[in-house]
Symmetry: C2
Subunit: 405 residues, 2 copies
């Protein structure tokens, strides 16, 4: 069959991450690998009430074909929230409901990318986006991510050299690193993109999950015509309902609507109406506050454990929100090898390799803290520490013998 496949299929192989996630399905595994919300955060009872209400009051329209752009009430809710919480000048016309924000990435890639078209991404970058763009045969240029966002001089160089179709970034509690862009860095990036026809694709699935510190304005407020903003209910209400959205200039939304119609006609109308009913009958902010508390406690515990156990040569981020933190091992230690050691103790995480388009054997790794119990976090960190220490010793011995040559 291989010879029948489109060329684009060469770019997307069964990923290492997928292999890892298969391993983590075993019940004995403590997994910091996935990006799963904690199921305790799901408002099951309220969703049940909303579903009953929708089916009782207007079941026929919830089960019928619907418009591609999405439920008007739901789009109005999302736009209203952007207006009041973020000061964005948007309305329902600027919103397209998608089958999770992953479909947003697929549709954006589809409408913009010819084979070989350059895009600029973060290094490390979100794997799902890299895969979506790879399917449309993008050429990647990645720019280092530092504490306040991408390195500005590298970014300017990449933009000038590559003239990409867009720059893609997860600006709040970044996946995989947990880093958040500063307002200043966003302003600098906006200045750099102004008067170009390069878009900023701002992926913001975790933005609502801030534990402390101040919200940073969304890129849309700096560059409204050039920002394509992705949002999702997956991390605040339920990922299983697969409801995300794109917020962008009407002209872009128009093109994305065509692409979505051709890709799947429209997003599940029952799920849209259920979420809308849930939002009308419940206080989303109150619900999100509960998730923030739950996740902050887990984040604090993991940070404390890492501070207590990890050797001082190991660095890690201290995210202000979101679901992940990012570990940098001393040079020369491969995170894949640490993974292979840790998995023997039934502990899983994602080694950094798949988040780089241009490197492997890297010494970074991602830890998720939202979906483990306190006891699992404690046991897991100790086991990873043990694995790191083993390689640290070997590395030191090798370094000595290297020096003696």
């Amino acid at each position: 069959m291989k010879e029948c496949l489109a060329k684009r299929m060469r770019n997307v192989n069964p990923s290492f991450v997928r292999e890892i996630l298969k391993v983590t399905e075993k019940p004995e595994i403590i997994s910091f690998a996935g990006g799963l919300p904690n199921p305790k955060s799901f408002p099951i009872k309220e969703i049940n009430q909303a579903a009953q209400k929708v089916l009782t009051s207007d079941g026929a329209s919830a089960l019928q074909y619907s418009t591609t752009q999405g439920d008007i009430g739901l789009r109005e809710f999302i736009a209203e929230r952007y207006r009041t919480k973020h000061g964005l000048d948007v309305s329902a016309k600027n919103i397209l409901i998608t089958n999770g924000s992953q479909q947003g990435l697929d549709l954006i890639s589809k409408i913009f990318l010819n084979p070989g078209d350059p895009v600029v991404i973060e290094r490390p970058g979100y794997l799902g986006a890299i895969q979506a763009m790879s399917m449309f045969e993008a050429t990647f240029r990645s720019v280092s991510l530092e504490n306040e966002g991408v390195d500005l001089s590298e970014f300017k160089e990449a933009i000038a050299d590559y003239l990409p179709k867009f720059f893609y970034a997860v600006t709040n509690f970044n996946n995989p690193t947990g880093i958040t862009y500063s307002a200043e860095r966003k302003q600098q990036i906006a200045n750099c993109l102004q008067k170009t026809n390069i878009f900023f694709v701002e992926d913001n699935p975790y933005g609502e999950l801030r534990f402390f510190g101040e919200d940073v304005p969304l890129m849309y407020s700096y560059l409204p015509k050039q920002t394509i903003l992705l949002g999702s209910f997956s991390k605040t209400i339920s990922p299983g309902l697969r409801l995300g959205w794109v917020c962008a200039d009407e002209e872009i939304i128009g093109k994305l609507v065509i692409a979505e119609q051709v890709a799947s006609l429209h997003t599940n109308s029952f799920a849209q109406k259920v979420i809308l009913q849930y939002l009308q009958d419940n206080d989303l902010d109150e619900h999100i506050a509960k998730i923030q508390n739950m996740y902050q406690q887990k984040r604090d515990l993991m940070v404390a454990e890492l501070e207590k156990y990890f050797p001082k040569e190991v660095e890690f981020t201290r995210p202000e929100g979101g679901m992940f933190l990012w570990v940098t091992l001393p040079k020369g230690i491969s995170a894949v090898e640490v993974f292979q050691e840790a998995i023997k103790q039934n502990i899983a995480f994602v080694p950094g390799d798949p988040f780089y388009v241009d490197k492997n054997g890297v010494s970074t790794l991602r830890l998720n803290y939202t979906n483990s119990s306190d006891e699992q976090i404690q046991r897991g960190v100790r086991a990873i520490t043990k694995a790191i220490k083993k390689f640290l010793r070997e590395c030191k011995i090798n370094c000595v013998s290297d020096n003696s040559r």
Copy 2:
């Protein structure tokens, strides 16, 4: 923005059909245009019970991320039905759940088609498939559809000349024509494709809606390794839940799983579990029998009205199932012009143009009968008759004056 867009976007314009469907949203319009199931056929109460059961018994897993290939119970149900009703040798491994069968078309196009790759389709062909393939810049060759399926000699010629990646067909109660392939024609097509590496993409959303006559074996039973079979719950349970599937050889499913993961991670897990619960607690065949009765009555009424009112020069199909019938006007009468006349009387249908990749101004049109009341069918047919007669008179006058030149 235009200059930023991918080349593929040139192939998919806001379609005439979409414009028509916008018009038909007005409540005063009698619409034979869309392909909407009758909402009276939706098992709203049963879906409500199923949703409550799912959320009460295992809400957390219904609302969590899930596997890309789809709920194992649902895939087993689908495979079991194929085994017992159609004698196919398939299991859950051969099934991928998609976001409606439209996503199946998108994913199949994505994994197989390089720009310019040839595909063979029916003439007229299903618009949604033409659009999905156009997005991946397919080159089309269409083959005439006659009473028993595509014209065999044309088909053989197209296959030999074009060596397409696949042949796409809606073999049961075809959209737009209502035609069903005979077993003999399927066997002839299978003979022709055997020992090639050309796939048969058999799209079968209406197959369960047979009013009379005998089921024809699915293409999968003739060519198991080369058939990619698409199915859907949209016409039997609910289109709003967006649940379709692909049934194919495991190797193909493996590639489609990768493509779906990248396109949307997975299909709504709540909807999958709700449908599965519905299927476990209810008799699908009993439910389908009710829909068949409802639609046959409407089909019979429309056929009777067309026989009564349409001028004898006008031909139309008499489908054995499904949702559409296909009208062929005398040569020289444009269905678009008839549409423009009928819409003045608030009657809508789809003129044939968009179902042809290589023609326009055609004299064919599609009528849907499932979503109108008896009275609407009667009034609608009379108004269309009036519009046709107007052009028939003009045509005769022009023909005379043409002859007199």
